[in-house]
Each structure stands twice: as C-alpha cells, then as structure tokens.
Amino acid sequence: MFRILKKSLKTGIVTGRHSAPTESADGGLREARQKAEPFRRSLTIREVDTGSCNACEMEMNALTNPVYDIERFGIHIAASPRHADALVVTGPVTVNMERALKVVYRQTPDPKLVIALGDCAINCGLFKGSYAVTGPVERHVPVDVRIPGCPPRPEAIIEVLQDLRRRRQGEDFRNCPDEHG
C-alpha cells in the first residue's frame, strides 16, 4: 500500500502534458456541430474498425491514457453502438467487413454522427483500388466529420471531438483555462 502511495505521489499529475494543438479545425465542421447539439456537452463514441492497420486504434486507445484523458472533456467510449452518439470508423472498408459496418450503423440510434478517422477511412489510402476493398467509409454510410492523418495524432483527434461538443455556436471551449489542465 505504501509503495502504491509513494509511486502515485512521485508520479504527480501528467494530464495535459501533451503539446497544444497547432492546426485549427476545418470549417466544414459547422453542420456536424449542429448535428451534435442534442448531445449537449457530452459525446459518447463507439469505434469500429473496418480494415485499418491498427495504428488508428492505438491512437484512439491513447486518448484514454492519463496524458490525454479524454473523459475530462465529456467524451466517453462506449462498448456498444446502441449506447453511442457517434461512430468513429477507421480503415478502408474491406469486402468482408462491409456488411458488419452497415449493421453497426443501423444499430446506432438516431441522431448520430459518423466520423471517418484516418486517411484509409477517408480515401482508402494505400489500399485504394484493391479487389478486397470496397471503398471509403462514405461509400457505405454518410460521413459527417473527417479526421485526416496516417494515423492522426491524438491531439488532432481531441481537437475535433472537442469542437463537436461545443455547447453553442461561437462559444469556444478551447479558450477555457480549465479545459487543458
């Protein structure tokens, strides 16, 4: 017990140690922001992998580590699409995963957002054209938000997600002093 306490005290607070985002979120988010309004200040997301190389998943997992700790922004990761406000889809949609993606989309209650995470989800990346890939996510389900990168950095993901759950137009949480820790 003392060892655990000592370790915790020695470690201190690491949250928010990540460098602040540099690029500003793109303007195409306005519609998505309106769609996200019913979710108020929280956003529950469900991640679906339709054929990525797993790097995007690793970065999504990194969001929950003590350094990024996205729960503090009111963003939760749900275990079931039935609990989700937004689907985060990674990877090009493979022939074998196409049906599963459509089922998951139907199971997510309306209103919902679809976020295409990473270059593969947006335009199939290096796998474009392959016989085993049926196209980017938007060919199968409507996409509201795109987060480019191979894989996108956790800061970039946080920035977009945070932007989505802004309360009202014009209110910018990024400027709140207590938000970045």
């Binding site: 060892r3 992998d49 350094v67 275990a79 796998f127 392959s130």
Partner: protein, 528 residues
C-alpha cells in the same frame, strides 16, 4: 556452410533419390521435390530433424514459366539453416498432397493456398474457406496472375459452417466480428457447458485488404510504405523484414551505423508495445492502477519516437539500404537518459505488480499453452518463449546489428498468462540494456548503401526479423522491369492464432479476454 552439408548428407541418407540442392543462398538449402516424395520428406524434416515449418506458400510462376510452385520452408534447430522444399505444379493439375496430417502447423497455410490459387491440398482434413469468406463468388483466387488486382467482387449467398459440439447443456457463444473494446475485428465461436470452454473456433480474415496482391503492382524499391502498414504496431518489424529481403535481391550492403540504428528503432518499437501489453494484461484483471502507469510510460515512449523520427510509430524511419534518420551523439545520450528514467519508473511498478497476490492468482495456471502443443503448431515469439520454446531470431540468425550485440533470451516454461507477462517484463529490461549498448558501441559512418544493380528476374530472398511479437518472415521474388513478382509476408500472428484455440480449452469464458490479451496477436497482420 558445414551445417548445410551435414543436413544435406542426413537427408540424402534417408532419401537416396533426393535431387541435388538447386541453390544454397543466404543459409537456405533448396530442393525441388516430386509430389510422391513430399510427404515423407516433410515428415522426416519435422519429426526426425526437429524442423519447424516456418512458412508455406504458393506462387504463380507465370509469365516466367508455366507452373505453380508451392514452397515449404523449414527451420532446422534454432540456429540451423533453412530448408526450402519446392513442389512444382504444371498444366491443369490442381491437386497437391497435403502435409497437414503429419505436420500440424501446415493447416492454415494450405487452406490459404487453396483460397489464393485454387490449388487443392489433397488429404487436408478441413477444406473450408479461410481468407475468402462465403460471400465471395466461386473461382475468385486473387493471387493468380490472371486475376486483376482492382477487380470488383460480386456477392453470392453462403454460410460458414462452424464445428459443433453437441450434448446436453452445451451451447454456443458467438463473439464478434465487432468487439466491445477498441480492437480489431475477428470472430470467436465458443462451445461451452456452463462456464468452462469446451472448444473455441477462431474465424478471421475480416480485414483482408489484399496486401500481397498490392505488392505485386509495385516496383521493388517502392513498396516500403505498404509493408510498414501491414500491422500498424509493427511498423519497423515489417518494414525491416521487407528492406532486408530486397537488399539481398539487389546485392546491397547496409552500412554498419545504419544497422545499429535499425536495431535501435526495432527495440524502441518492442519497448512501447511490451509496456502497453503489461498494462493491458493487468487491466483485464481489473487492476487499473498498473494499466494507468503503463499507458503513461508508453505515451512517453511514443512521444520519444515522435521526437526522433517525426512519427509516433517510427514510420518512414527506414529506407532501402539503410535508415533515414541519424542521431547525433548528444541526442543518443538524451535517449539513453530518458530510457533509464523510464526503466527505473517501470521497475518500481513491476515490484508493485509482482507483489500483488490477487493479480498472481488470476494469472497463474490461466490459459496454459503446453510446450508440446506449442511445438506442434510451430508457435513463435513471446508466446513460444513463455511455453519453453527457446527461439529468438536476434540471437539465432543475427540481422541488423545483433551479431555485435548478443541478446539474452528470456525463457519460461509454464506457458500461462503469468509466464507471458514475465517474458514481456524481462524483455523490456533487455531492450533498454540493448539500447544502452547501441549508444555505447555505435560506429560513425554513412546511413544508406548505394546500389544500381537491377535484380535478376526470378531471383528471390527470404528474410527473418524478430519483431516484438516474434519472428516475421518476408519472401520476395523479383519480377520483370524491377517489379515484385511475389511478396509473401508472414506475421507471427498467423502462426499463433490457431494455438490460442488450445490455450483457452478448459478455462472459463470470462478468462478469455485475459488470455487473448496475453497473446496479443495482430488481426491486420494475420488477415493481410
């Protein structure tokens, strides 16, 4: 070389009709065998000479020659040479003899060959589709040369038949392809009677992206980014395996400094993955404290990767013939300082983890993979070393700078989740030690080899790299106009997935996530 002659002599004594070895390059002895010889030869290599079936794949010889070839690569002993058996199929004959009844490890490989080439392993006990799910139309064999790489597949109705266990109180639990956590898609079908698992059947290949076909569309020198994306967490492992195979074909000699830096990147990759896994195993026993600390240290390492190469996953750090990023001596000192701090940090956590009785209680005797079963399946890497299989490519077939940096291989015998956790913990310390050695010994010099050699058509090479999961193999054959004729990639996951079906039998269903996490196999690398 004397090793090669010895093996040749032994085989020749048992098989007087064996044709002469057709090539002996880079520690690979190749024999072209007749179908009638194959079964006896494979079983002799496996049983008598204790050879591990490391790789089995086919290639479409057209347009170079009108034939299919099926290649069987055996590793003899941990430090012995490779033996490559090549079986030729000419004309319209689609049958080839299955070696699965005597060499169990061939099971998935032969089903894969059937799906990709339409060649049928005669005598195989299980001829269901593996890569091509049931909705793929008949006659779609993507790796045949006349199958267009960008063809759009139609659909057909079809249903996969799982193995059933029948009896009173027995029921099935289907899980996946989409799981509850942020992980990759795969399907598991459990047959349970109450809590204990009677049987597990793994059904994968949901993420099949046609990588091997995509390789064939690229020039030899250009496919590195693709190989770095075979499995996102093994960027350096797969990238290095690919680079080494191409460098052999193109006769490039990588400068010494570059080889040291390659080892450095490979160890950095091992470190952040092992750290993440130690935390994740603890997390699956609901021990969140350890998970939080490990995730924090892992993030520290990812940020270090980012500072060194501009990529958190070390993407683009390697290039053909060497490395892209150099490290100044002062930078190297900083890296070592940071790793020393992380190791100290981790050692404190390790003491806390290993002293936790309730954690030990969950981990011990859970998910035991017996040494015999592991050997039969040709299991490799972390999972193999936890089950008593003493193998590590870094020591056995040194590549990069490992011939100058001897690796101490960790070995445990119990084969349970705790053994797999212990292997990872020990390897973390070993990796930090290796990086300290690299910083001490790294010589000055160039970073990239120069070469203008165009590879000969039909020339091939096979390379092995010890990635953080285990042995990664890459076979490359040069085609016309500097293109890739065939690139076969084998991630350790492909070998270890079937073995997990044995490790869970008899365990209770709620322990499956824990066992699965302790294996931590890649879906992307398996499905390709």
């Amino acid at each position: 070389m004397s090793d090669d002659a010895l093996i040749d002599e032994q085989l020749r004594a048992a098989f007087p009709t064996l044709p002469p070895a057709s090539s002996s390059r880079a520690g690979v002895i190749q024999y072209r065998v007749a179908p009638a010889q194959l079964l006896a030869l494979a079983s002799c290599l496996h049983r008598k000479l204790q050879g591990r079936l490391a790789l089995l794949f086919a290639l479409d010889g057209r347009p170079i020659a009108d034939r299919y070839e099926i290649q069987y690569l055996f590793g003899l002993g941990s430090r012995g040479p490779w033996v490559l058996l090549t079986l030729e199929r000419t004309g319209g004959d689609r049958l080839f003899p299955s070696i699965t009844p005597s060499v169990h490890a061939a099971q998935w490989y032969e089903r894969e060959v059937r799906d990709q080439y339409g060649l049928i392993p005669h005598g195989h006990p299980d001829l269901r589709r593996l890569v091509r799910h049931e909705h793929w139309p008949k006659g779609t064999h993507p790796l045949k040369k006349d199958f267009s790489w960008d063809r759009e597949l139609e659909r057909q109705p079809g249903e996969y038949r799982f193995r059933h266990v029948e009896g009173e109180g027995v029921f099935e639990v289907p899980v996946g392809p989409i799981h509850a956590g942020i992980i990759e898609p795969g399907h598991f079908r459990f047959s349970v009677a109450g809590e204990p698992i009677m049987q597990l059947e793994v059904r994968h290949f949901w993420k099949h992206r046609g990588i091997e076909k995509l390789f064939e569309q690229q020039p030899l020198a250009a496919a590195l980014p693709l190989s770095e994306r075979i499995s996102g967490d093994t960027t350096v492992g797969h990238g290095l395996a690919y680079c080494q195979a191409i460098e052999t074909v193109m006769h490039m000699t990588v400068p010494r400094r570059a080889r040291y830096l390659r080892s450095l990147f490979l160890e950095l990759e091992r470190l952040h993955n092992h750290l993440g896994d130690v935390g994740a195993i603890c997390n699956d026993t609901a021990y969140v404290l350890a998970h939080a600390h490990c995730a924090r240290m892992k993030e520290q390492l990812m940020q270090l990767n980012d500072r060194l190469t501009g990529s958190r996953f070390l993407r683009g750090a390697l290039c053909l013939g060497g490395v892209v990023h150099d490290l100044a001596p002062r930078r190297m000192e900083e890296v070592v300082d940071e790793l020393n701090r992380i190791e100290q940090d981790f050692s404190e956590l390790e003491a806390i983890i290993l002293a936790n009785a309730s954690l030990t209680d969950r981990l011990e005797t859970t998910g035991v993979l017996a040494e015999r079963i592991a050997w039969d399946h040709g299991v490799i890497g972390v999972v193999g070393r936890a089950s008593g299989l003493d193998q590590d490519v870094r020591r056995d077939r040194p590549f990069a700078a490992y011939d100058e940096l001897p690796v101490k291989v960790t070995l445990y015998r119990y084969g349970d989740v705790r053994a797999r956790l212990r292997v990872r913990i020990d390897e973390i310390h070993e990796s930090v030690r290796l990086i300290r050695e690299i910083a001490r010994l790294i010589p000055p010099g160039g970073l990239v080899a120069e070469s203008s050699d165009l590879p000969t058509v039909g020339d091939w090479a096979v390379s092995a790299v010890e990635g953080w999961r285990g042995e990664i193999l890459c076979f490359v054959m040069a085609g016309e106009q500097g293109r890739i004729h065939r690139c076969k990639v084998r991630d350790p996951s492909f070998v270890n997935w079937p073995a997990i079906q044995w490790a869970v039998t008899g365990n209770i269903l709620p322990d499956f996530p824990l066992i699965n996490k302790s294996f931590n196999l890649s879906y992307a690398g398996n499905d390709l």
